[in-house]
Assembly symmetry: C2
Homo-oligomer: 285 residues x 2
């Protein structure tokens, strides 16, 4: 039996500024109206989405925009949307609640600006991530998407870089380094969100001080998955869980310390539940 | 005795575009007028400067501008001059022949542009080099001078970089990498001259294929000195000479091949003399 299981929770675990703002906007919106829609889940966390649904906030797919009527309320989630879809929403005269993270909004503006100034816009990010799809639409037809220093597209001499807010500075540096082989004029908007960077940094520091790590958050959350991968890369046994229900008591056998961190889309109440569950089991194994 | 001394001369040894242009401008100018002045030696090569003097082109120091009279002809050398001195020349109503290398001129324009747009301008280069002194004057009072990745000055979030034309891309990359630790908006004008880069690249390739290297050019020429250092860093025995007179025949004993390269300010006739001298000695040692 292990009475001394030391549980450390990362200070920056959970909601970031943009997610907190968007979730609050969604709940406020739901309180004022009987039914509202969100274009895709507000954030990448199934439990929060479920809770919002119980308050009348329903995620819909882009393809279903046509079914909405003039005056219907639609919330744009933290990741933002493409310029094309934004114009469609306006055309349909929907009541748009724009909960795009202000940092993502800024990145979209930079992408537009670079395009207008004649730069070949390079978006550094994950192809399938909704934030990146949005950024690419602002960057224009000649934009290139890059995810590693192995740049396969032909670059011009005049390149402008905008980064998905949740990417790492190391990746940006590698790509800038490579781009400088050819570019004569290079503009870099480092739109990486500090909170992501600090969360990653804090997670490494925590992982190095514990026997096992628990990363809490949606399995569909890119930044939660990134935290998990980072812990594993540090050779720390790590579990990516969405809720406390997934915890197996055997995981806590023969260890003295546990670290908990969580993605930007994980609410405090889920982190607390996980902490309490580990505490309960910890005293019994 | 060594009958088979193989002598390879780098294709890009000697005058670059800007130096060729400036020297031609100086000779043309001298042919048209009885006496002309150059602000400092036209290029960093004592032999060329001596030849120009015999044609009536006299280098003067900045401090002696006061001694010139209205209508006197003054040539601005390839490295360019500071904005302050340029204004002084104009104020004195001198006949200005601007032989600033067009690539240096472009770098000066970028430095001005970045300053006007509110960037903290960073000049990457050697503090005492005349080109850098000129660039710094265009970059304004808040400009910072950086020569290595160990950046000692405090940087703002909005930085614009201009590079001395003869620096290396590797150095630029190291400095950009470091600057990205803090900057949120970074504009890089890669004003490194391709001819410098290609000359360095070709020199490494040549140095790796010969027993000894001869680097020909002014001892006061930064880019010639850079070539010498590069060869030495590749562990190739290397001699930096200004003319064939410095060659010691013992240097050519027991070797089979020699490489010759030269800085951007070294004229062809000096390179040819060196080549012929090595050829002559090579057959006798």
């Amino acid at each position: 039996m292990n009475n001394y299981l030391d549980i450390k929770v990362a200070k920056r675990a959970g909601f970031c500024f943009g997610v907190k703002r968007a979730v609050e906007m969604a709940f406020n919106c739901a309180n004022e109206r009987s039914i509202v829609y969100s274009l895709g889940p507000i954030i990448h966390n199934p439990q929060v989405v479920e809770k919002l649904m119980s308050h009348g906030v329903y995620p819909i797919d882009e393809i279903d925009i046509n079914k909405l009527k003039e005056g219907d309320t639609i919330i744009i989630r933290t990741h933002g949307i493409s310029l094309k879809i934004f114009k469609e929403l306006e055309k349909k005269k929907l009541n748009i609640i724009d909960a795009t993270c202000p940092f993502v909004k800024k990145a979209q503006e930079y992408a537009s600006l670079l395009r207008e100034k004649g730069y070949q816009v390079m978006i550094v990010g994950d192809k399938d991530h909704p934030e990146v799809k949005g950024l690419m639409s602002y960057a224009g037809e000649n934009a290139v998407l890059v995810k590693s220093e192995k740049i396969k597209v032909k670059l011009t001499k005049k390149v402008g870089i905008v980064v998905q807010t949740t990417q790492t500075k190391d990746l940006l540096k590698q790509i800038v380094n490579k781009t400088l082989d050819n570019a004569k004029e290079l503009v870099i908007y480092n739109t990486i969100c500090d909170s992501t960077y600090l969360r990653l940094k804090e997670t490494v520091s925590l992982a190095n001080r514990v026997d096992k790590m628990f990363v809490v958050g949606g399995k569909n959350s890119a930044n939660t998955t990134q935290l998990t991968k980072l812990c594993i890369s540090k050779k720390i046994p790590t579990y990516h869980i969405e809720t406390s229900k997934e915890i197996n008591k055997n995981w806590l056998k023969n260890i003295k310390s546990v670290g908990i961190t969580a993605g930007a889309s994980t609410p405090d109440w889920i982190i607390d539940e996980v902490k309490n569950c580990i505490k309960d089991i910890g005293g019994k194994v």
